[in-house]
């Protein structure tokens, strides 16, 4: 084996501020690049310290000095060249170092990448003589690389990464990669510009020198390069940086950026659940998601220590390597021992922050506590996220040994693990809008092809609707229509966004209210739904204040920073919020729901924070009648004492009444006994299990966006017109546009349930049927027996309103005959008199009638007396 000693003298690892490097000057094509000289003169003593030997000793290190090297560093018995990747780069032999610092005015400073590794120095090994086990460590990939080309192959030590090759490939990727549209080349004539060239253009325009790269794209372009990136991110990413910078400076030669472009790969395919991380992932590129729970304050991390001799004032700088400073013991100028002192304010520091990421609750197996992992964020990634954010992090997994004391002969062989963050992807408000696509992507990963096939198979079953409804809360007996309603709620309508055309966003979520006698397992149903949906929230109206439901502002006692704590409604964004004891809620709390249930946003103006949060949640509420037992003689509004403004925002209002029927009782008893009787195994066969149901719903929710077909639209219009017609004969309005919207949503949900991309007549029929069933239960006027939507929309049935008007007329007549203007009368007296002419007038009806008259300015009511104007 012949080794090529390259780059014996390395350029000093320079700070971003001091160095003046020329990327364009890099002779990158020649295989032997020229070492660049920095414009500031490195002291000879200093550079002589940095011989390759030093690095070698580094790797053969004693316990205590070396960290990640335990995992990443290759065997130390090999001499090799050394590249300092965070400095002006040098690839080549000493002979080629002719030094050509043609300093242009527009040079871009380099900023070291702490996220890639503190020791950004890489060594290249020349493998000219072909495969060698000593060099490769038996790595087959590496051998393949070496054997295929005859020319000199410089490979980064311990890896199979060939710098030139990688650079070339990556440049090619940037220049040519075109995102294939999903239509699959249908628009062949329309030539899209290469995606990442457009991104570079953005860098040019925005002057933000970061280039995010989707690993998925890279993989599609070149799987080998991708594999290398994932396996050796510490080595490959600086190389990618180089390539990107060279490309950038060729395209935009006159542009000076703040610092060099940094490539930020994200979406590495090996997306890990936090629980699946294991020692094999160390030093690899990983992508995990979770929730930020804690952040440290900003930590200035020393990057370069500045020493001054207290005797002769000679100064020197020492780069910090893996958290350690090699403090010079001797002054190089006056040779005084131990005279060098650290000068803090001349040393260089980097911003750093420690973030704790906790596994998201959905990933947690039951009975286990969530795992957390530390993230180290550097530079502008500091404060990029906030506690409570759900983020997807791409970074390098690291392990650092924890040692008791380097001087003792005991070793505590435990490692501290953390992730050096390269990229954050926040599930933020802006992204949530196209969350469907994103979650669809995520689902592809969670669902195997077989599972999807299985679900599709299931959807073709003719009785799928009934099956799913039955699978929903099987322990709750019958109530099929209610279960169907909830099922459709779980699927939800199609999201429609017309904001661009100025018509706003339409609610796609279906809200359902269950009311009825206590003990009709409303709470159980709510609990079930809460457990079924991954983003379900369960609160009780009694215990929850407006604060707990919406969001509140809190002062962090430590930082004095105001933070927004979100409540149940915001937390269940894109999910379902189950509110039990809806009727027990205080008025102020209920007021919040008005906005949530139609606009699906939540406005907060508190402690100087004014914001609107998304709360696109379906609401499933349960309410008990006011008098503890449902009164058949009263309308729903009177029974549950909810404002009609709120009531009309529910798409479906179901009554869960206790049927007094022997047959029913018998079946119910049988059903319940079987719960105590049938063994687990038998139950599986009868019902679809919860996971299948969950997967089915998740799949439909994220993949299917059915649109109305022509006939379906016609049918809906017809249904609406019919509904209006029913009432018009009797002078009452029986349907409002809100009902039409409800019908559309229900029909869409039903289509989703069938895995259909269009809404067809069947869907509309079912939507109509369900809607009618719900209305039959809730909006029937107890006096006339006619379904009257105005009970739900205005709180008063039309017959009741007619009655009030007639009473008002009567009262007016009475008062006009009996009293002159300005006289007072007791309300009780009026009631007595009116009862003579009109039978069965209740005080409440009289009050309502008096209010009508007051509106006419005929009289004024004050307490128990009436004054005629």
């Amino acid at each position: 084996v012949k080794f090529n000693f390259a780059g014996g003298k390395c350029a000093k690892k320079n700070s971003g501020v001091l160095s003046h490097s020329e990327l364009e000057n890099m002779d990158s094509d020649a295989g032997n690049g020229a070492t660049l000289q920095t414009s500031d003169v490195t002291s000879p003593t200093h550079s002589s310290q940095r011989t390759p030997r030093r690095h070698a000793s580094h790797l053969a290190s004693s316990p205590g000095s070396q960290g990640a090297g335990l995992f990443s560093s290759p065997p130390s018995h090999m001499p090799a060249s050394e590249i300092d990747l965070s400095s002006p780069l040098s690839y080549g032999t000493p002979s080629s170092r002719i030094g050509l610092p043609t300093t242009k005015s527009g040079s871009t400073p380099i900023r070291p990448r702490n996220d890639i590794g503190t020791a950004g120095r890489l060594r290249e090994v020349n493998l000219t003589t072909g495969p060698s086990d000593a060099v490769n460590g038996g790595d087959p990939v590496s051998s393949a690389v070496t054997s295929e080309g005859a020319e000199a192959h410089l490979v980064i030590w311990g890896t199979d990464v060939n710098v030139q090759d990688t650079k070339k490939k990556f440049k090619e990727f940037l220049e040519t990669f075109v995102l294939e549209s999903d239509e699959g080349g249908a628009q062949a004539d329309k030539v899209e510009p290469p995606l990442y060239m457009a991104r570079l253009d953005e860098v040019y325009l925005l002057e933000e020198p970061f280039l995010p790269i989707d690993c998925e794209h890279l993989k599609r372009f070149n799987a080998d390069l991708y594999a290398q990136l994932v396996r050796y991110p510490q080595e490959v990413i600086p190389t990618l940086d180089l390539a990107a910078n060279q490309l950038f400076s060729t395209n935009y030669p006159d542009m000076t950026l703040k610092h060099q472009i940094q490539v930020r790969p994200y979406n590495a395919e090996m997306t890990k659940n936090m629980r699946m991380l294991n020692p094999e992932d160390i030093d690899q590129l990983i992508t995990i998601s979770g929730m930020v729970v804690r952040m440290s304050s900003l930590i200035p991390e020393m990057r370069e220590a500045f020493f001054r001799c207290s005797v002769c004032c000679n100064t020197t700088t020492v780069a910090v390597d893996r958290g350690r400073i090699a403090e010079p013991t001797v002054c190089s100028n006056c040779q005084t021992l131990h005279s060098m002192t650290l000068v803090h304010n001349l040393s260089l520091f980097t911003d750093k922050q420690v973030i704790k990421l906790q596994e998201s609750p959905d990933d947690m197996p039951p009975g286990q506590t969530p795992h957390t992992v530390s993230l180290y964020a550097y530079h502008d990634l500091v404060d990029a996220v906030q506690p409570g954010d759900r983020v997807t992090v791409t970074g390098i997994y690291r392990a650092m040994p924890l040692r008791v004391n380097p001087r003792q002969r005991t070793v505590k062989a435990v490692y501290n693990t953390y992730i050096d963050v390269i990229h954050f992807r926040k599930a933020d408000a802006k992204r949530l809008r196209d969350r469907d696509e994103e979650s669809a992507e995520g689902l592809k990963k969670t669902f195997t092809a077989e599972r999807i096939e299985e679900l599709k198979q299931l959807s073709t079953q003719p009785d799928i609707y009934e099956r799913l409804a039955r699978a929903l809360a099987p322990s709750i007996y019958e109530n099929d229509d209610i279960k169907k309603g909830i099922l459709l709620q779980l699927f939800g309508g199609t999201k429609k966004d017309f904001e661009n055309t100025g018509r706003g966003r339409f609610r796609a979520d279906i809200n359902i209210l269950l009311c009825g006698d206590p003990g009709t397992s409303k709470s159980q149903l709510l609990q079930y739904v809460h457990h079924l949906m991954p983003r379900g929230q369960y609160t009780s109206g009694k215990g929850s204040s407006a604060v707990g439901l919406t969001a509140y502002v809190m002062k962090d006692p430590e930082t004095r920073q105001t933070v927004l704590q979100t409540g149940a409604l915001v937390l269940s964004d894109n999910g379902i919020c189950c509110i039990d004891e809806f009727d027990k809620m205080s008025d102020s709390t209920r007021a919040v729901l008005h906005e949530v249930m139609e606009q699906q946003t939540l406005s907060i103006a508190k402690a100087g924070i004014i914001c609107t949060l998304n709360a696109r949640t379906s609401i499933l509420a349960g309410a008990n009648p006011r008098m503890s037992k449902w009164d058949e003689k009263l309308t729903i509004v009177e029974n549950i004492q909810l404002p009609h403004t709120l009531l009309s925002r529910f798409d479906l209002v179901f009554l869960m009444l206790d049927p007094q029927d022997e047959q029913f009782d018998c079946r119910l008893a049988f059903h319940l006994v079987s719960l105590y009787h049938i063994t687990e195994a038998e139950k599986e066969g009868v019902h679809m299990d919860m996971t299948t149901l969950r997967d089915y719903i998740a799949y439909a929710r994220s993949y299917l966006h059915p649109t109305l077909s022509e006939e379906a639209a016609q049918s809906l219009v017809q249904a609406y017109v019919d509904m209006r017609k029913i009432g018009s004969g009797k002078g009452a309005v029986t349907a409002y546009p809100r009902q039409l919207e409800s019908l559309i949503r229900l029909a869409e949900a039903h289509a989703k349930m069938r895995f259909s991309t269009t809404v067809d007549i069947v869907d509309v029929e079912e939507a109509k049927r369900l809607h009618r069933e719900a209305l039959k239960q809730s909006a029937t006027d107890p006096k006339t027996g006619i379904i009257d939507v105005s009970i739900l929309t205005t709180g008063v049935s039309s017959s009741e309103r007619a009655r009030r008007e007639s009473i008002a007329k009567e009262v007016k007549k009475l008062l006009q005959t009996k009293a002159k203007s300005g006289t007072q009368m007791k309300v009780d007296a009026i009631l007595e008199q009116i009862k003579q002419s009109q039978m069965g007038v209740t005080p409440a009806q009289l009050q309502a009638a008096l209010r009508l008259l007051q509106d006419e300015d005929f009289l004024t009511v004050s307490g128990q007396s009436v004054r005629i104007c």
Binding site: E301, P361, A399, V414, Y415, T520, E662, D665
Partner: protein
Amino acid sequence: MSDLIISEPLTVIQGLFEKGGKGDWGVEAFFSSHFATADDIEKVPSLNDRPLHALTDGCLVRYRCMIQDQFEPEYYLNTYQLVNTATGGKVLCCGKYRDVFNYPPNYELNEDPDVTITDERTTLYCVPIPAETEWAKAAFRRDTDGPVVEDERSSRRGTKRGLCDEGDGDDEWMDSDVQSVDGVSKRCKQHDGGHIEGDGGQKSLPGLDEKEISVSCLVKVYGDSIEQFKVASMVEFVGILSVSPSLACFDHNSSDPDQDLLLNPFAAEGAAERKAHSPPPSLVPRLHCILSRTLSHSNPLVTSGSLPLLKDSSAVGVARELALSVLTEVLLGDRLAAEYTLLHMLSSVYGRTEVLALGSFAVNISRCPVPRAQSLSFASSFFSVLQDLVPKCHILPMTLANMNTLRFTPKKDYETNRIQPGTLQFSAGTLLVIDETQLSPGRLNEQGVKNLASLCHLSRWQKIHYDFQYYNTEFNCDMPVMVFSEGRSMIKDNCEVPLDPVAMAPSGDRAIKRLTEHQLHNLREYLGVCREIQYSLPTEFQTIVGDDFVALRKVDPGVTADTLHHLLCLARLVSISYGCAEMSVEQWRHVRELELQRKNRLLRL
């Protein structure tokens, strides 16, 4: 050989390691074959009973505990190599089952990644089973043998009791409104126990409480079996004790803390977390688990040998009658209440369908006599008897102060990255007695409302919310809840039994004192064994139950599905109280009879 395994397990493991082999080099198989029977396991000293100073570092111990928290997995050196600096000779060593390794002076650690193997293990924060009663602890101790140990233990307890008495007195002086809750004789111990479960994690941290030395333990488990260790479950571990003082978290090694802070990246991570995760091993020892066994119950009298009791139906009958008579006496001569209480004591969650916790049976004893000043409340005197019967129970006086100041549910503290225990974090099978008679009118603050809600949630669904600040997570639990109240309890959805007293004065634990040692033993065994019966409902009962239900509904339209659930649950409990695994017609009749009596009493009182 056996002695060597116990005193020098690491040497044995190193021996196995040198022989080679796949996976764990046959360590687990070796140990499980050696400790196959209960007798074998009992030879291993127990960390529960022996003081820490009586055990040596690196010896084999067993530990019976509840998992309170789980830490993140940690990576450690599974295999490492020592190089002799003088001769160059190399030795491979096993790094599993130990925290720290020492090496002889002329050796050096070889960190070559080719020979070092890194593996992961998980740390569990374990505490002795909370709310365990004295007799259960003593029974476990007796199992362990050794008069020497007993002596040591009792002398230690003696001093502890003294300390504790003082502390208790102080407490009563200091905060008289957080009432002391226990029977006079039991007060001291129980109070102490309250400390453990109240905030065991924090208390055992340095400088906070020196009383409960060696109570908690950090158990390190290996392999992929982590999923089986659930929070709040009871486990018995056999493993290697590790108390090397170097495990404690030192603040800084460096003389210059400033520089250290700048250079040591881990100084940035809260010192609080490091402190919480690596307390001094003299207070919280480490245990490297080799064998583990999840316990379904913690009754020392329920063993494979107690099955004959069930076969002898007359013995069961006698025990049942005895239990009823004791409970009747405690409950002021009310036999119906005693019957319901007995059923309650036997109840456990035996299955969950979707959200329902089948088998959970919460009881509310209403119309309790109001305690006169200075005297013990009725619930407390009942509790003092309960303590002598069941292995685990806890009383919660629902005073305004307790409601407003205690935190019932566990909460994640992100500062220390630990789950702080809540008052209600108990293992399965702990009887919870809630004394609502202590509640006085007043204002509940936010914490109070939350606490009340979690009590209701627990009673209804047998689930506890763990507060993770940004969201709540539900954990299933199994803690039968019994509420003593003057009127109808605030905690709804339970079975209300109004007390109909015959005698007036609470009898205290006289009923227990009268029993012979043998009778008491039988009683405890009966309660323990019956709880574990696997019950099934015979098919022919489906129609009987169904018909009865229809008939019931005809009479009373207020009968709902919940009523039927309740009846079926009662039926199961009555059956197992007779030691039967299947329901019989008489037992169903008995259930109906009980319910009828209760209904009538509800109407009457």
